[in-house]
């Protein structure tokens, strides 16, 4: 019994970074911009939050700085894919690699060690606040998409940007805002990795969670609540993986590497099994030019 409640608590904790990132991805992709850069944005957020918390001794200020770091990276991404019309997959991959190299580099610059920041003491860590915050963000996203003009514009930017333009609303401005917001949210997701789930930044600590969030988004058909629930599924796989470590099979211990596969295996199964029926926003991945620019 204790094990089960521990498993559930762990599931909710581990799904927190995924939920933030998936909501960020939702905003970006519903506006028509593919966001495989979530992974890199999370890494930036993780580093920013760790550095910020070490410097200010407040996880909240750390979170803000992490969100700012995600925002800065998202700005570069938006610049590449909106005005400069780079391929969104290629540019997203570039952002991920940039973040992968930039984060240890910044660590070395700041602390003289590559790969990690100093430990954040227990009272300066987050304990449960991000978990609640994540679900508040899900609620806000749901409300945004369902009940506000901003959500309607966002959806049209990804579904039929020409219609948005014809209604007098600049589609690329909406896409800019959406990508920047996705940087803030993915940054927040990364911040929970370094200040909530652990106590420092470590090299490549996102470990594919950006992609898992993307998978959850697709599994949730680009809708906030189903996407968040998909994050919980992946969080569960992660929690189960931790619980199963050290398990013995016929007297021999199962190698930990096999058990650590579990969340990724679930991701693959979910994507292979269910995504066929999902329908992406129609203009997803397509550059938009105004009528004046088109001719």
């Amino acid at each position: 019994m204790a094990m089960i409640s521990q498993l559930l608590a762990s599931t909710l904790r581990l799904s927190t970074p995924l939920i933030f990132a998936a909501m960020g991805g939702m905003l970006s992709e519903r506006s028509g911009v593919i966001n495989i850069a979530l992974e890199g944005l999370m890494l930036m957020g993780a580093l920013g939050a760790a550095v910020g918390t070490v410097a200010t001794h407040s996880p909240w200020l750390g979170l803000l700085i992490g969100m700012g770091a995600g925002l800065a990276m998202a700005f570069i991404y938006a610049l590449l894919v909106i005005p400069f019309r780079a391929n969104q997959i290629v540019a997203g991959m570039a952002i991920n690699m940039l973040a992968l190299g930039l984060t240890p580099f910044l660590c070395k610059m700041l602390y003289g060690v590559t790969g990690s920041t100093p430990q954040i003491s227990y009272p300066e860590q987050f304990h449960s606040a991000p978990l609640y915050l994540a679900w508040i963000v899900v609620g806000l996203c749901w409300y945004l998409m369902k009940f506000t003009p901003a959500g309607l514009w966002l959806g049209f930017a990804g579904e039929h940007p020409e219609a948005l333009e014809a209604a007098g609303i600049p589609a690329n401005r909406i896409r800019w805002l959406a990508v920047l917001a996705s940087g803030v949210l993915a940054g927040a997701g990364g911040a929970t990795l370094s200040t909530f789930l652990s106590s420092s930044f470590a090299r490549n600590m996102a470990a594919g969670r950006g992609f898992m969030a993307l998978a959850a988004l697709i599994f949730g058909k680009w809708r906030p609540i189903p996407a968040a629930l998909a994050c919980v599924l992946f969080g569960f796989a992660d929690a189960a993986q931790i619980q199963l470590q050290g398990v013995k099979f016929r007297g021999a211990e199962v190698p930990v590497q096999f058990i650590q596969i579990l969340p990724y295996l679930v991701t693959i199964l979910v994507l292979a099994g269910f995504v066929g029926r999902a329908r992406a926003p129609k203009a997803l991945g397509k550059h938009f030019s105004t009528a004046n620019e088109r001719e």
Partner: protein
Amino acid sequence: MISSGSEVAVELRGITKQFGSVLANAGVDLRVEPGTIQGLIGENGAGKSTAMKILYGLYRPDSGHILIRGQPQVWSSPRDAIAQGIGMVHQHFMLAGPYSALDNIILGAEGEGRGGRERRGSRVEGRGQPSGAMRREGAPDPRPPTLVRAWGILGRKHARERLEALAAQYRLSVDWEAPIEQLPVGIQQRVEILKLLYHRADVLILDEPTAVLTPQETNDLFANLKKLRDEGKTIIFVTHKLKEVMAFTDRVTVFRGGSVVGEALTSQTSPQELADLMVGRKVVLNVQAPPTQATGKAALEVEALVVSGTRGATHRVSNVTFSVRSGEIVGIAGVEGNGQSELLQALLHPREPQCRKAGRISITGMDVTQMTAREIRNLGVSLIPEDRLHEGLLPEWPLRDNFLLGLQHSAAFNRAGFICSSNLQAAAAKAVNEYDVRPANLALSAGNLSGGNQQKLIVAREFERRPKLLIAAQPTRGVDVGATEFIHRRIIKARDEGAGVLLVSSELEEIMALSDRILVMYEGRIAGEFAKGNFSESLLGLRMGGG
């Protein structure tokens, strides 16, 4: 000319717009009186749509002026035009499939519905207003979308109330909650019109609105537009179809080569006069085919053909038998969706069970029921497909490669598996000249041609095969009068050279002008057969309606 002194709803003065090397509008002058239906007619690429997109604020003109109710305007985006009461239904609808009709309508005018309480009044003289322009009573907020508006509430309930009142006033009801993609095209267009009314437009621009409609839907649209005019709305109707301009506009303006070349009261002009103005030379509007001189053996024989419907529905084509002899044109008339498309699919893909359930098809005396499309084409079959952009062309590819489509295995162009590009270049250049495809630039993507020129390219390619059987489906749909005349002449020429021609068209005039025999399809059956000399529009129409 329009009498001076009358009030003017919309005026364009010397509008010029250049796209790259193409001068799309060269000094367009246009005046539209309020409460009238103004037709803009011209061939594809004559500059009608460009002028209207400038009026709607989508394009910025290089020079020239826009005046609304006498006041000069400078648009920076469609929002400014919408604020001055201009609305536009685009040729390709501006609707997003998964969203409801209601959401599509309120897009850009969120909060408009709030119980008659107008949000403007004191805040009326907003930023970005051209000096001297009076704010119209009840016009939408002209200011750019603000944060406050964006984060507000959509207010679907109020929007729906206002829409229902509008729908009742103009009798234009739709299912507000249905996703757009589930509504038929005619209803989608109604949603577009309701969107304009909801945005308080009083000048309604409709760009080629009938291109996607059935005849019945077209009639409904015309009735609705007349009603709107009688309620005081001004309507600008862009088309290349003479019949429509004559049927229901008050005035007509003719465009050619980016300029206005003529203007008249509709009641004082004739289709012939307009057509000559549009094309810039004398046009024969309805090329009448003389009766066939000699008919030979059967080019196509169809016996007891059955095509099953999807998922147990009734048969799409049931027990259809007919033949086409070489040297004759057989027309298949009928309202679209009565089995014509399925019949054509069966002729080309008889091996596929979903295309042909039962029945025998032979072409030039050969049983083709077990042949592939390529084998059938090699018997000497040419095809002008219904949907040229999907079945007739590769829009992204250059003219030269499009000319090769279907001929890639022929000895003329294929040397041991390699395309002989010098032969192809020469043959394509010759055909493009002979069939007057403009611009005659073989490296240009086919998608950049106008509809009429795309069709001429297909005609060039298909007729160069010297067909024994020509299947022409909707050969002049979306094609302007000049190209229509050309294509009709070519079809008659093919017949006179001995081809059997199966002509499928929903344009009754076209069928009656060209055919030696007419078969009427209704609900998948042949509902009537008429020989030349016995064609009567009323009797054909009756059969087409199942009578």
